[in-house]
Symmetry: C2
Subunit: 450 residues, 2 copies
C-alpha cells in the first residue's frame, strides 16, 4: 500500500512537471476527498498547490476541510510561491484556465491575507481573477460580522480584529456559509445601543460586486452610489473581499487616463510621464499613427481622382486644409462628447438614432455659422463668387456630416463590443477628411460647372 | 435717546436699501461692539444680516457673542434668505466683495448646518466662498472633538452628536479657539482603550485645505493621500467643515469631463448629454470653432502664397491633407499627453525644456517611421521620386515640430496662468497645419528646384 501511494505521489509530481493537466484532472476526479487530502499532504508544496487548484470548487472546499492546519498552510503558501507561478506561466492558455478556475472564498481570502498590495496583484491571477477584474484590486483584510450577534458583540469583534483589517468603516455581515447578507457601517455600530441585535443595522440592499466583474464598472458604481467600500463576492455570493474607495479611485483615474490617451489615438503610458523612455513613448503612439497615415492615403486618392478639377481651378486647393480641418474639429468635438457620455453612463447603445438626429441638427447649425464666415472670407481672398459659394456650402454639409459621424461612431463601436474610446478624434478626423473632400469636389462640380 | 436710535435704525435700513456700502462701513467702524449688537437686534432681518457681514472678522466674532440666541438666529437665517441674496446680487462687484469677506468659522458652520447640499451651494457664496472653492463643497456637519478629552469621552460625544453629522469617519480635533489641531479616525477611536487620552490618537500632520482653495486641488490631494475626508479651515486655521470623498469625487469627475471637452475645443455641457438642447450643444462648441476657422484661414494664406508652386506641380496638392492630418495627429497626441500629465500632477511648469527635448526626439522617431511609409506610398502613387522625397522629408520635420508644439504649448499656457486644458488638440492641429504647409513648400522648393 505504501508502495502504491509512493508511486502515485511520484506520478502526481511528474504530471505537474509535464504540465499534464488532463491526466491530473482525471486522477482527481476518481478519488474521494479524504484520499486527495491524504495525497496532497504527502506531496511537495507546488504539486499540492496545483492539484488543489484543479479541484472543482465544491470539492476544493471539502478537501480543504480535511487538511490539518499545517497542510492548509502549505497550499496557501504554494499559491503565493514563485515556482507555482512559473508552472502556471508555462502552461497552455486552455490548461491555465482549467487550473485557475474561481477559488473558494475562504481559500482566496486566506491566500491574499497579509500580502502587500503589490504581492496581492501578483497573486490574484493565480486565484482565477482576470486582469482588470475586481478580484485584482480588492482587499481580503476586513472584519466579517455574524448575523446573529448583538451590536455589542460586533463592536467587540471589531476591537479584536480591526487592527489587522485594511478598513473597518464597512463591515460585511454573513450567514453561517460565508454568504453575504448585507453590510453594517462602523458609524451605525458606534451610534447604536450595544444590546440591540445586529440585524436591525444591516443594509441588505447595499450594492455588491462579483470578483470577476470589471474593476472599472465596480469603481464607477461606488462613485455613483457614494460608497466608501464595496463588498466583493464570488459566484456563490460568498464574501471574498472589499474594494475600498482609494483603490477604486486609482482604477477610475487609470481608466480616464487611458480614455484620454485613446482619444488622441495613443496608448496610455505605463509609467510616470517624465520618466518613461523616448522609445516607449514613441511605441505608445506609433501604431495608430501608422494606421491613420494608411487611412489618410484615401485623401490623396480622392484628390488624385479630382486632379482634373484641381488643375482647372488651382484656387480650389487653397481651401482644402481649412475645410478638412474644420470638418475634423466638428467631428472631434462630437466624438469626444459621445465617448465621455458613454464612459460616465449618460448614453446607452440604444440611443444611436437619437444621438444621430441631434448631432445632425447641431452640425447643421454649426455649419451654417461657419459657412457664413467661410463665404465672406473666401470671397475676400479669391474674389470669385463661385468658389466662395462652394466653400460655404461645403462647410454646411461637412459639419453636419462630421457631427453625425463623430456622434455615431463611438456608439456603433460600443454596440459591436469595441471600447468606444478607440474611436479617437484623429480616427474620426481622418475619416471625415477623405469623405469631406469628396463632398467638396462634388459641390465644386455642381456650382462651378466643371 | 429712543428717538435717535430709531432714526439710526431707519438710516441703516435706508443705507442697505440704497446699497450704500461705504457709509454703512463707516458707521460700523465708529461704533463699539455692544452698540452694533444693539442696533442689529433692533433692525429688520436683512439689514441686520448686511451689517453683520460687513464687519471685519474679529469684530464680527465679538458682536456675535454680544447677541442673544434669538438675535443670532436672525442673522443666521438672514444670510440664507432670498432677499439678502437679492441685495447682494444688486451690488457693484466691489461692494459685493467687501460685503462677502470670509465669515467667522463659528458663524459659517451655523449658517450652513442643516441645509441640503443644494441649499448649501446657494448659501456658500454669501459666506465669501468663490465658485470652485472648497467652501462651496464642504459639509459643516461634523463632530468636533476637544483635545483634552479621553477616548471614552470622545466616543460618547460621537454617540451624542453623530446622528446629525454627515460623516463621523474623520473627527477634527480643535483647541479652545476652534483652531484645528489634527484629526482622529473613528476606527482608531473604536480600537483604542477608552481610558487613554485622545491626544495619543491625533494625527497633527493630517492634510488640510483652506476654504478658499480650489476644490479641484483639494480633491486631487485627497485622492493622492487616500483620504476619506479632508478638514477645511479658514484663514486663521479654525475648522469650518469637512470635504468628504463623495463630494471630492464629483469635483474630480466634473473637472475631468471639463478637461476632456476642452481637449476637443468644446465647453463642457452643463447638463445630461441626452437632455441638453441642440442650441445649447451648438453654443458649447461654436466659439472655438469660429476661432479655429479664423486661424485656419492662415492655411489658405500660406497656400495662396505658394500658388505658383501649386500651379506648376499640381501633384503637390494631393498630399496636403495627408501631411497636415498626420502632423495634426502627432501634435494632438503630444498635447493630450501633456495636458493629462499636468492635470494629475506629473509635470510641473519648470519641466518645459525636458518635455520639449523629449518630444523632439519622440517626434523625430515617429516622423522617420511615417516618412518611410510616406516615401513608398507617394512613389507608387505619383511615380515621381522628387515628390516622394519631398513628402517623406516633410513628414519627418513636421512630426518632430508637431510633437514639440503639442508638448510645449500646454506647459507654456500653464506658465502664463491659462488652464492648460485650453490647449486643445484642434488648436494644436490648426497651428501645426499652417506651419506644416510652410515646411512642405520650402522643402518642395529645395528638392524640386521650384
Amino acid at each position: 500500500m505504501t508502495e502504491t501511494r509512493y508511486a502515485e505521489d511520484v506520478r502526481l509530481a511528474d504530471l505537474v512537471a509535464r504540465h499534464d493537466v488532463g491526466h491530473l484532472e482525471q486522477w482527481l476526479e476518481q478519488r474521494p476527498a479524504y484520499e486527495i487530502a491524504d495525497e496532497i499532504s504527502r506531496a511537495d508544496q507546488v504539486t499540492a498547490g496545483v492539484c488543489f487548484r484543479l479541484l472543482p470548487k465544491d470539492r476544493a472546499v471539502e478537501v480543504f476541510g480535511e487538511l490539518d492546519g499545517n497542510e492548509q498552510q502549505k497550499i496557501l503558501s504554494a499559491v503565493r510561491d514563485q515556482s507555482f507561478r512559473d508552472i502556471v506561466e508555462g502552461m497552455d492558455p486552455d490548461d491555465r484556465a482549467r487550473l485557475l478556475g474561481e477559488a473558494p472564498a475562504n481559500f482566496t481570502q486566506r491566500v491574499l491575507a497579509g500580502l502587500s498590495a503589490r504581492e496581492r496583484e501578483l497573486t490574484a491571477p493565480l486565484l482565477g481573477y482576470d486582469a482588470g477584474s475586481v478580484g485584482r484590486y480588492m482587499t481580503p483584510e476586513m472584519v466579517r460580522l455574524k448575523e446573529q450577534s448583538t451590536v455589542g458583540e460586533a463592536l467587540e469583534r471589531v476591537r479584536r480584529e480591526g487592527a489587522e483589517a485594511e478598513t473597518v468603516n464597512t463591515l460585511p455581515v454573513t450567514d453561517a456559509g460565508r454568504r453575504l447578507i448585507g453590510v453594517v457601517l462602523l458609524r451605525d455600530l458606534v451610534l447604536a445601543d450595544p444590546q440591540d441585535p445586529l440585524t436591525g443595522l444591516v443594509d441588505p440592499a447595499h450594492p455588491r460586486a462579483h470578483a470577476a466583474d470589471t474593476a472599472e464598472s465596480a469603481a464607477r458604481l461606488m462613485q455613483e452610489a457614494n460608497l466608501l467600500d464595496l463588498p466583493v463576492v464570488d459566484s456563490e455570493d460568498r464574501i471574498v473581499g472589499l474594494l475600498t474607495i482609494d483603490d477604486a479611485l486609482e482604477v477610475i483615474e487609470a481608466a480616464d487616463t487611458e480614455d484620454i490617451a485613446r482619444q488622441s489615438a495613443a496608448s496610455p503610458l505605463d509609467g510616470h510621464y517624465m520618466s518613461v523612455g523616448v522609445v516607449r513613448v514613441a511605441r505608445s503612439r506609433v501604431v495608430w499613427l501608422l494606421l491613420l497615415i494608411i487611412a489618410a492615403t484615401l485623401t490623396a486618392k480622392v484628390l488624385q481622382a479630382f486632379e482634373g478639377e484641381l488643375e482647372e481651378v488651382t484656387a480650389l486647393a487653397i481651401f482644402i486644409p481649412l475645410l478638412v480641418g474644420t470638418g475634423g474639429n466638428v467631428g472631434a468635438q462630437a466624438a469626444t462628447g459621445a465617448v465621455r457620455a458613454i464612459a460616465v453612463g449618460e448614453v446607452r447603445p440604444g440611443d444611436v438614432i437619437r444621438v444621430v438626429w441631434r448631432e445632425c441638427r447641431v452640425g447643421f447649425l454649426l455649419g451654417s455659422m461657419l459657412g457664413a464666415v467661410g463665404l465672406l472670407f473666401a470671397w475676400v481672398m479669391v474674389d470669385d463668387s463661385g468658389i466662395a459659394v462652394t466653400v460655404a456650402l461645403t462647410l454646411v454639409v461637412v459639419c453636419a456630416w462630421a457631427a453625425v459621424i463623430g456622434g455615431a461612431m463611438p456608439l456603433f463601436a460600443r454596440k459591436v463590443g469595441i471600447d468606444p474610446a478607440v474611436i479617437s478624434a484623429p480616427l474620426v478626423t481622418t475619416f471625415v477628411d477623405a469623405t469631406g473632400l469628396i463632398i467638396y469636389f462634388l459641390i465644386a462640380r455642381a456650382v462651378l460647372g466643371l
